[in-house]
Amino acid sequence: MATYTYEHTPDHGAKAGVLAYLATSAAVLLLMMVFGLLMRLEQAQWISIGADRFYELMTLHGAGMVGIAAIAGASVMWHFLRQYVDLSSRIFIANLVLFLAGVVMILGSVLIGHFHGAWTFLFPLPGKSMGMWSPGAAALFMGGLLVIGVGFLLLHLDIARAIVARYGNFARALGWPQLFGHDDGKAPPPTVVASAMVTIVNVIGLVVGASILTMMLVNLYVPGFDIDPLLAKGMIYFFGHIFINATIYMAVIAVYEILPRYTQRPWKSNKVFLASWTASTLMVMFIFPHHLLMDFAFPKWMLVMGHVIGYLNTVPILVVTGYGALMIVYRSGIRWDMASKLLFLSLFGWAAGAMPAFIDGTITVNYVMHNTLWVPGHFHTYLLLGMVTMVFGFMYYLGKPDHEADDRLLDRIAFWLFTSSVLGFTLSFLYSGKESVARRYAAHLPEWVPYDRIGAVFAMLVIASSLLFIVRFFSRIGLARHDYQRAPVARAATA
């Protein structure tokens, strides 16, 4: 057995680029949350903006949230990966610039061109708007996605370059010599393993996504170039599912890097850890058909694959990470502050969010739950209480005034408010799903409205608490740049 000891590494402040990523994410996150609230209020029949507006907001909310989740995740990954490999700041910034350019295109397409074919741009909807939007608007939307994709492709190519320069190749970066051979304890740190995995899957996903986007752009103007809708759907889900899943695999690096600093215990890249990441590298690419279980036209083997892998992939990284975190924290005398609490909470949120997906990945359940609000219930849990919470934890960590600083009462209240209101918000989705309320409906039946109202109230509380987190981050953004110890030393370590 290899032994692992905690090596203290100095705590680096964030580069300006990382802060620019985080500031962008925070601002867009708040705006998109407000759009989400507006959707919920419309369904609750407390406001009436009309169905077209609803779907415009839904399109912006979906694309915007997925985009900033990727931007925020990338900032976490880049910040910590830089300790181990030489990354290019210029490419990092170029990605943000391309992202913003893409966002402008998407905003123009939706707000001016009234495109509202959802962020999943399912073929042939963008080209068949029945006069609701022009081909130009659809092209602008898909072009915006394409520009954003090119930015991320560049970023991942740079990460691939840096990893290969440092570790020789990806097999070593994923720790295969230690996984398949003797574990000499010299496997790369968790951050490198996770970044390698994300890079592989995202490069593949982005190339597939770019291909279908290009084909659909051609089809938009020359409809004679026919696309098989089933193939298009498969490719879009392949790309979309990988891209959104990768955001949490990037953000979890904050947990791997920050929690050990609180307890002076190392996060081990042992065989089990390495095996889980290697397994998920493959599985995350073949899991998407679990969304297509009711699409009888898909080849049967794909659905079987989606079902099986949907079950299997719930387990490895999540369980290994959850168990790892418990081991780091258990009897460590950890001193809880906003950062460590949020990071710990995020693992719970991730697990809680994966469960509904697991359930819905069962075909007999899927008969009932398919395309109900159960699905938004599932992904809002793991994205809000998992992914976004990791990012909030990272923000609090960067802005912590010094390692002995105590949290303000207001922040502590906001923490519990956030936790409970996100749970309330997502449970209202899940419960509606159980009651067979369809997702993506602007107008709801009278008997659904009570759940929508409960959900809308909780959504306001989610926004209020997030606003406090974000204001706190911006007020401390000057501190985030400096190098100093942020994590309080655990009591067990001082004793």
């Binding site: 300790q83 691939a160 490198v192």
Partner: protein
């Protein structure tokens, strides 16, 4: 990069020249141009590859000088991109078959405007630049192949629809293969490393 001994370089240069003449010889030419796949996926890439390989045989400082004259790697990549895209168009193929002058232009421009510029730029492109050229090329190949498959009618006057379809499939398959190979190469090779934990650390 190690320089190649001058006499070895001369032999290789002659071999490339012979290959070029072979491709230009009427029987081989009409044989390759008889099918769309042969034309697009064998003859054209080989012509570009000859230019690429020949340029790499030049003495290093000559290559540097050419690179400096051209203004660095980026303009060269752009030239190569446009020239190669041109010869991917169906009507360019038609023209080459119909007009001897276009055929000559093809035989000159593919080595000179695609192969040579790429070879010159290649030395300066880091893994990012090369990765970008590769991913761009592979996705272009895949999308173009797919377009050929999806096209509602015949795109070339000189080739029938079944030709178009088999060329399309070949392009898609080739793209998949190249992409898999590119990914695979990330997993092998590279020097062994020392302590993999902190670099910037104490």
């Amino acid at each position: 990069m190690t320089a190649i001994a001058p006499d070895r370089a001369r032999i290789r240069f002659c071999a490339l020249g012979a290959l070029y003449l072979l491709l230009a010889a009427p029987p081989v030419r009409s044989w390759l141009e008889a099918t769309m796949s042969g034309h697009m996926l064998v003859q054209i890439p080989l012509l570009a590859a000859i230019g690429f390989a020949a340029c790499r045989l030049l003495v290093a400082h000559h290559q540097e000088r050419l690179l400096a004259i051209a203004g660095g790697p980026i303009p060269l990549v752009v030239v190569a991109l446009f020239a190669s895209s041109w010869w991917m168009l169906p009507r360019a193929l038609d023209d080459a078959l119909a007009h001897p002058l276009v055929e000559v232009a093809k035989f000159v421009s593919l080595p000179a405007l695609v192969g040579v510029p790429l070879a010159l730029a290649w030395r300066r492109l880091g893994i990012i630049g090369r990765g970008f050229v590769w991913t761009n090329f592979i996705s272009m190949l895949a999308v173009l192949g797919w377009l050929y498959l999806a096209a509602p009618q015949r795109l070339c006057n000189s080739y029938l629809v079944d030709q178009q379809e088999s060329a399309g499939w070949l392009m898609v398959k080739l793209a998949l293969l190249l992409f898999a190979a590119w990914l695979g190469h990330l997993f092998v090779g590279g020097p062994p490393v020392g302590n993999p934990r902190a670099v910037h650390g104490p």
